[in-house]
Amino acid sequence: MSDDVILSVRSVAKQYERGGQSVKVLEGIDLEVERGGYVALMGPSGSGKTTLLNIIGGLDSASSGRVIVDGLEIGALDDRRLAAWRTANIGFVFQQYNLLPVLTAVENVELPLLLFRMTKEERRARARAALVLVGLSGREHHLPRQLSGGEEQRTSIARALVTDPKLIIADEPTGNLDARAAANVLDLLERLNRELRKTILMVTHDPAAGRRARTLVRLQKGTLLPEAGAEVTA
């Protein structure tokens, strides 16, 4: 694997046992993403996009195959080490934002930093800086219910950024937003990729969102289809 490749997915398959029957969700997935890449993963509902994203992010495990992130095969990690690896290496952005309702915006952003050895002043400073970066400097003490959907999603992006992860994984980040808020979030992701060289892997239904990525990959019935002109080897 070249040093420029941050993510390598090799022959990954995923199947579930449901009602005594084996259901194949992913089959023979091979994918490589370069450091600083911005990849959009598109496909119809049930094509396995989110499952693939969850496997890459260490939230789920593959039935077979290997996922290597920055040289580390994550399938070999036990539960405890996988949790620590997730904290340090992956920033998640979810469709539902997944903020804790009892914490303010800055506290939600600060949350993953509790797992690092740092002073509370340092934690708070980094969380504030992340909120400034996503354009929410005036909203840091607002609870999620006091924020608009777009602001909640930007808070969740700040939380994903605050640990300076190697890979940002975004699952339908604009799925719950109106057109204007969605455009703002996509602008932000694009800026993070372009200016801060953040590697982003995004699942989306929205063709407009897909077009913002530098690479487009399509999944169909659990199998990856290469997009013409894609920078990704599949």
Binding site: W85, V106, L111
Partner: protein
């Protein structure tokens, strides 16, 4: 921000439910602390009984206060070879200012009484007691309870008994400290009980003679209008407290049944509050917080809620026990360390019983499944 502040935020996120859950646990802790303290009061009373003492009471005793024994054979008993001292106590139960404030008044011949019970005068003087027929020595706890001062005249039961406080006392036998000592002749005159006692107390030279002396005393009184039953003071006191204990047991059972409902409600509330947050458990795990850390947070949250409710219930019990001081004017009441520990332990147990299973379930669920759950 810290995990502790997250725990505290979660505790207060649904205040009404939090207060209800804590109240349920508080009621349980209150009842258990109160019942165990009353039980400990019984234990203290029985524990302070002296094994070298005999208690002589009317055989056909219906009530520990109304029974009577004639003093006529006291000299005969005192003359028995195995007996060191013997005296009679005439007991009356009077209310003070309010019907529920019961005061035990013991009529004694102080000098003879000292032969069987260790009494030490604190404030005031013994000579002042000896000098006045209507003088009284009041136990330190009851003096403190009613704010009685030396030299003060106290009237009980619509002035049916009036005495002037000559001093306060403490006694090795704590059952006397919650009452008043007056001259036996004075009380007997007021009660028209001259020559009678509620019970006799006999101190033995040798505790081994307990059975033989008991038989001899009962034989002495066999042909009297009021035959006696003689037994060790410890056994007599247990019998005296039997009615209280029965009442406490019945009351305890009823109250325990009632609190079982509130305990179930509290445990169920805690369980529900965790189940509702399974999705948040998934969020925390997706951020890298480990299962055992989340389990610790959920259980700490339940434990804090339980301890807060328990502390409130125990605090209330302590206040009420301190205000009541005695049960029926006899059983000393105070929050005992054992009762405090047991009721706090129970509160914790209720909290944990509601938390452990749903917390384990929530943290065992896969992150993906947890995140799929609706808020």
């Amino acid at each position: 921000m810290s995990f502790l502040s997250l725990i505290l935020r979660n505790l207060t996120r649904n205040r009404r439910r939090g207060v209800l859950m804590a109240s349920g646990i508080g009621v349980a802790a209150f009842v258990i602390a109160s019942l165990l303290s009353v039980e400990a009061g019984f234990g203290a009373l029985i524990g302070s009984a002296d094994d070298t003492l005999l208690n002589v009471r009317e055989k056909a005793l219906a009530c520990p206060v109304t029974g009577r024994v004639f003093d006529s054979d006291l000299a005969t008993i005192a003359g028995m070879a195995a007996v060191r001292d013997a005296t009679g106590v005439l007991r009356g139960l009077y209310s003070y200012q309010d019907k529920k404030n019961l005061v035990v008044v013991n009529g004694v011949d102080l000098q003879a009484f000292r032969g069987v019970k260790d009494v030490r005068v604190l404030e005031g003087s013994e000579s002042a007691f000896t000098a006045r027929p209507d003088a009284a020595l009041v136990g330190r706890p009851i003096a403190s309870q009613y704010g009685w001062k030396v030299g003060e005249t106290v009237s009980l039961l619509e002035d049916r008994l009036r005495f002037q406080i000559a001093g306060t006392f403490e006694a090795a036998d704590k059952s006397y400290e919650t009452g008043v000592l007056v001259h036996k002749e004075y009380l007997a005159r007021l009660k028209h009980d001259e020559g009678k006692s509620t019970f006799l107390i006999v101190r033995l030279k040798d505790p081994a003679a307990l059975a033989s002396v008991s038989r001899a005393i009962d034989a002495e009184y066999a042909n009297h209008p009021k035959p006696t039953k003689t037994q060790s003071e410890r056994v007599a006191r247990e019998r005296e407290l039997q009615d209280f204990r029965e009442l406490r047991r019945m009351l305890g059972l009823m109250v325990l049944a009632a609190i079982a409902v509130s305990v179930f409600g509290a445990a169920n509330g805690i369980s529900m509050s965790i189940r509702e947050r399974t999705r948040e458990v998934g969020i925390l795990r997706s951020l890298g917080v480990r299962r055992e850390q989340i389990l610790g947070m959920l259980i700490s949250e339940a434990a804090l809620l339980a301890l807060a409710g328990g502390a409130a219930g125990i605090g209330l019990a302590a206040v009420l026990l301190a205000t009541g001081r005695t049960l029926g004017g006899m059983i000393p009441l105070a929050l005992r360390p054992g009762a405090l520990g047991a009721s706090l332990g129970l509160a914790l147990l209720i909290g944990l019983s509601g938390a452990v299973l749903p917390a384990v379930r929530a943290t065992r669920l896969s992150i993906v499944d947890a995140l799929k759950l609706a808020d």
